[in-house]
């Protein structure tokens, strides 16, 4: 019997968790930060750096998810740095199965600040990072937001974070927030593309849709809409004509915090988002609590079209002459995978702001070990 060792190298995106798909059973996982150890590799210049995690290990059989056994540089002196040994208690390693994602503990929400974006305050350290997807629920004074998934677009402190929910006019509330995933790893159902709840819609030509969760849509994708009447944009529904309202994506900004999809539609004369005849009307913002309960407005991936006819929107067909020949990219794809999620924070083992991946672009060497036998 022999153990299986798998190795590799990757380069992280600054302050962004990294998902490494590894279908093997992982008994040990070891990670070295080459860049912050002073090693030039992978096209990134080495830079021995003080107070940075340079080694992180994870033993899933014995360690809690989200933690890591780390070695962190002390203060650099010349070409050497002393090594400190310890535990990263947050944003360490998590084995991830996209079909059975980790269940994260709920944290109490003590209040939120209504506005065009919403700043949430928790009663305890939330441990969230930009890019995390969270769900709020149990908002007793603002039930209209309960059950919404949102991507964290900013972290103000260990007890505050921001999402793109336009809560203007709402009443603040206590409740709960629970991390449900991350914008950079596979969706929990393992299927791409996924439906996205709409945060707001512009009345413009072309129409811009902002989503609560980062969406990963691309130019040429075709979407339809699931638009409850309380949101006041009947032009996007098929509830009268029976014909699906389809729209082609002519620009998409998948960056966390922007999360916009521009569609080849002139919505100038459409209804104003969240305008209705009832007491829940809240033009330009999310409906008020009087409308509770209701369905959420959803952008539904339909397929992919060609982009030959959108020169008026400054979309140049590419590749010429027929454009958009990759017509299956927006078909349903099974992207479910197993692997390990490497957390991000400030690159230290701080109990409140820490995380293995820091704010710099580094190159990492990793080793995953599958043991064929373990004792006792």
């Amino acid at each position: 019997m022999s153990s299986q060792i798998t190795t590799g190298m990757f380069q992280n995106v600054a302050s962004t968790p990294f998902f490494l798909p590894i279908p093997n059973q992982i008994d040990e996982f070891r990670l070295l930060n080459l860049t912050r150890s002073g090693v030039t590799a992978g096209g990134v210049a080495g830079s021995l750096t003080s107070t940075r995690i340079v080694e992180a290990d994870f033993f899933p059989r014995y360690m809690a998810a989200g933690t890591a056994l780390i070695k962190q540089n002390g203060t650099v002196s010349g070409i050497l740095a002393p090594i400190n040994n310890g535990i990263a208690s947050i944003n360490g390693f998590t084995l991830y199965n996209s079909y059975s994602p980790a269940a994260y503990a709920a944290v109490a929400v003590s209040a939120f600040t209504p506005g065009t974006t919403t700043a949430w305050t928790t009663g305890a350290v939330h441990g969230l990072q930009v890019g995390d997807n969270v769900r709020v629920y149990g908002l007793t004074s603002a039930p209209q937001f309960s059950g919404l998934n949102m991507t964290v677009t900013a972290v103000g402190s260990t007890t505050t974070f921001t999402t793109l929910l336009d809560s203007t006019g709402a009443t603040t509330s206590v409740g709960f927030v629970q991390k449900v995933g991350n914008a950079y790893v596979a969706a929990s159902n393992g299927v791409y593309p996924a439906n996205r709840v709409i945060a707001k819609i512009s009345n413009a030509n072309p129409m811009v849709v902002t989503t609560l969760v980062q969406q990963n849509y691309y130019v040429g994708d075709v979407v339809t809409f699931d638009m409850p009447s309380i949101f006041g944009v009947p032009q996007l529904t098929n509830s009268i004509s029976g014909l699906p309202f389809q729209a082609t994506v002519i620009a998409a900004n998948n960056a966390v915090g922007t999360q916009t999809v521009t569609l080849a539609i002139d919505s100038t004369n459409f209804g104003v988002f969240a305008t209705s005849s009832g007491a829940a009307t809240n033009p330009g913002h999310w409906p008020l609590s009087a409308g509770y309960p209701f369905s959420f407005p959803t952008m539904v991936p339909q397929g992919e079209g060609n982009i030959n006819n959108f020169q008026a929107f400054n979309v140049t067909p590419a590749p010429l002459p027929y454009a958009n020949q990759d017509v299956l990219s927006f078909a349903k794809q099974n992207i479910g995978s197993r692997g390990i999620l490497i957390g991000a924070g400030d690159g230290t083992n701080s109990a409140t702001t820490g995380g293995i991946i820091g704010s710099t672009v580094d190159v990492w060497e990793w080793k995953a070990i599958t043991s064929s036998q373990t004792y006792p």
């Binding site: 079909y99 269940a103 709920a106 769900r135 629920y137 149990g138 908002l139 039930p143 309960s146 059950g147 709960f176 629970q178 969706a187 159902n189 393992g190 299927v191 791409y192 593309p193 996924a194 439906n195 339809t224 699931d226 409850p228 098929n238 509830s239 009268i240 029976g242 699906p244 509770y292 309960p293 209701f294 369905s295 959420f296 959803t298 539904v300 991936p301 339909q302 078909a331 349903k332 099974n334 479910g336």
Partner: protein, 222 residues
Amino acid sequence: MLINEDPVLNSAVSVLGQSLRETEDQLARSMMEGGAPPINCTSGTNGDNPTNISPLDCSKAVRLLRTANAQFIMDLIEGELKFGTAPVRTAFFGLGHTNLSADLDQMVGFINVANYANQSNLLQSEWGTVRNLRFLLSSVGSVTPNASAGGQDVYNIFIPGQESYDMVDLDGYSAQFIYAPPEIASPRLRLYQTAGWKMAQVFNITNTSWIINLRCTLAVAL
């Protein structure tokens, strides 16, 4: 000496067949979770969002599908002169989790399969009907944990119309049962044999107007 040997391979084939079909169910379920347009039940009484399922929510879902010209799956079952039975409307199937069974039983107007006027051609998983929906329940039905406004599990009931989704399989790879006799599985001493299955399939929604994900919570606690 072996006498009355159990037909091990026969029972293994039966179990493997179930494993294969349940795996297909899970793949189709995940595809629909990712792509079927969701609408919340809002006419139930449990105060959550989505609410528990109600007959009106079923009617709304059917209305959406029919307005989009989705075609029913099942023909009607005519009424007959049998005590305790009722006719069944032309219907879409509602594909849900077995935990919904108690809530369905509680619905006004719900007809259990035992009360259909004709029990021929029923599927084992069918639970009953209300309005123009006939419910097929499975333990691998879709549940989104803690996703309601109140933090309860949300049950996704997929309601596909005809031709709303399809299945693509590689030629000759739809489902293969593979038996390896002892001569192949353990050639040295021929101690054991193996049986298994493999397949390569993908499910895909062809028209998002013809399928709905009716989301609900439970009124009858587990």
